[in-house]
Amino acid sequence: MRVASSLDSLVLGEAQILGQVRSALMAAHEAGTAGGILTGLFQNAILCGRRVQTETALGRGAFSIGRAAVDLARSIFTDLSHASALVVGAGEMSEITVRHLVESGVRVVIVANRTFEKAEAMAERFGGTAIQYDRFVEQMATADIVIASTAAPHYILRREMLAPVLRKRRGRPLFLIDIAVPRDIDPDVDRLENVFLKNIDDLQEFVASDAGERVAESRQAAWIAEEETAKFFAWYRAREVAPVLGEIRRKLEEIRRSDMDILRSKLGHLSDREWEAIESTTRAMMNHVAREPVLRLKREAGERTGAASTPAGYDLVAAAREIFGIGPDGASEADSAHGADTIGPEATDTPSGPTTARAPGEIPADVEAPALGQVPLEGTR
């Protein structure tokens, strides 16, 4: 649950892990290796991951500098699909940032680089246009987002260079992202109205601050993971208890029938109506005897959330198995010697061959009937 919720991920809250969990389940299904328990576990984990995504802010916020740039751009411009991006310096960092912007809707990309071929290559990757490096300032009159990432040792954009550009822009906001080290854009530019400058340090700090907020949000996510874990174990225990209940009923019925056979041999003169009354009475007695253990086991299945024992300190299901001599797969211990697995349907293919499912109370063919007289007649009265 914690893995699917990305609580154990290196980058807390990243959404990819949930997709990977989903893919793993699909791959297991295709390979035929996912049985009931495993499928239930994975489906629960996927549900848990989805709950964490929708009910908490763990998956939100900026995970990278590119995403931080997109978040900021979205707070400036109404619609990024109407915004254009100008990249100055066709480096790896600027490419990552512009990719985030393009994925978020930016359609027009213009690339300026000292080596024109590099600009052309990057522009081609984003379906944009390459321009000569010395034209980038005039191009800023039409661009909305500018990503500067050159290797220049000095500022390539100063406040006085922007003044004529801003006049042409008629007050439209301009978002400048300076991811170059050393800086490409004079920090003084940020004082201009309608100009928003963020450098790599600002963006990194922003990403770190979001990560900090995600840590705070992870408490809520951890609580959801615990809740889903509890739900899974309740479901799992219910599956574990069902065969035990069936086996208890089967054993009691077996005892009743064998005692009824003894009785028939001794009281052969009784009429059919009298036999019907005896049958009905013995069945009712059997149900009374089974009622309390069955109820307690059912309650145990509903209440237990993964802990190995009850609050009283013992495992009721294990105790029931022990008392009634039931093997780990729900069959009599005589069966368990055949190598049945403890875990449900995916364990049906055992080294000893596939086992067949039984209805509760149904007597497996290979189970020996208890010896007559094993349960004294008096015991049923």
Partner: protein, 280 residues
């Protein structure tokens, strides 16, 4: 149930809406968090519509009980003012879904309604002139424009907050909860652009009535009245805003300050001494 009781109920509903819409700004975490503050926002709109409906009943009850237009007293006029503000924001919220503006806009409506409640027992105009359709139209147009100016004020205020957040080097994720700067700028402009023609028509209706005859004072006394001159000043402030934006291409912080100044000027109108616009 009296009109005043219903007005107090409407006040409570608007106040609830202010809290719900304002809750959006309470939490500084990423959007969509499971905080109680974020969850409250969805109750803002039902409370707002509830308040508007209750006010309709309150104003209707006032008209029926006094057999006059609501503009025949301070109380009625202020109540309709608050109603117009709430209605203007509701229209904007339905069209653009910008709950963040609800906090400041409805807070103004609450303050006006609070003022109205204090004036419940204020004198009611005895003259039937005030019940004429032209006078009602004159006041209604002014109040409609005021409602839109409040929305423009709310957008401008949030613009300044958003601008400050985005300019800050130490980022605060509250900016994610506010609408984008461009959206706020556009909505402020559209609200003011709709409001100014209404204000113009309202002033024109007043002038028509002043020259229509049957009044105790001559038209010149109405035109040169303190409130008339003041409202023309308000009209000029908003005209300057629109011209600066459309013709001079102004955008950004300076333009929003004009809207911030414009609204108090429009509201102060109620307190301007007057020889003509009174209920005695």
């Amino acid at each position: 149930m009296s009109s005043a009781t219903l007005t107090i109920l409407a006040f409570a509903l608007y106040l609830g809406a202010v809290v719900c819409y304002g809750a959006l700004l309470w939490r500084y975490g990423p959007p969509g968090s499971a905080s109680p503050g974020a969850g409250l926002v969805r109750f803002g709109r039902p409370l707002l519509f509830g308040g508007i409906a209750v006010q309709v009943a309150a104003i209707g009850m006032l008209c029926v009980s006094r057999h006059s237009s609501p503009f025949a007293s301070d109380y009625g006029t202020l109540a309709v003012t608050a109603w117009a503000i709430a209605l203007a924001f509701a229209a904007l919220d339905i069209r653009y879904r910008i709950p963040a503006v609800g906090g400041p806009a409805l807070l103004v409506a609450c303050l006006v309604l609070c003022w109205a409640v204090t004036r419940v027992n204020a004198p009611v105009a005895e003259s039937r002139i005030i019940d004429s359709q032209v006078v009602s139209l004159h006041v209604l147009l002014y109040l409609s424009s005021l409602g839109l100016f409040v929305v423009a004020f709310g957008c401008a205020a949030l613009y300044l907050v958003q601008n400050r957040l985005l300019k800050a080097h130490r980022m605060n994720s509250l900016f994610r909860r506010l609408p984008p700067l461009e959206t706020l700028d556009t909505l402020a402009f559209q609200s003011a652009a709709c409001a100014l023609p209404l204000l113009t028509a309202g002033i024109a209706a007043g002038v028509v009535r002043a020259f229509g005859g049957g009044l105790a004072l001559p038209p010149s006394a109405w035109i040169l009245d303190g409130r008339t001159l003041w409202v023309i000043g308000v009209w000029l402030v908003y005209l300057f805003y629109l011209l600066a934006r459309v013709l001079a291409g102004w955008r950004g912080v300076r333009l929003q300050y004009i809207l911030l100044v414009g609204l108090p000027c429009a509201i102060v109108l109620y307190a301007i001494p007057t020889r003509t616009h009174h209920f005695h």
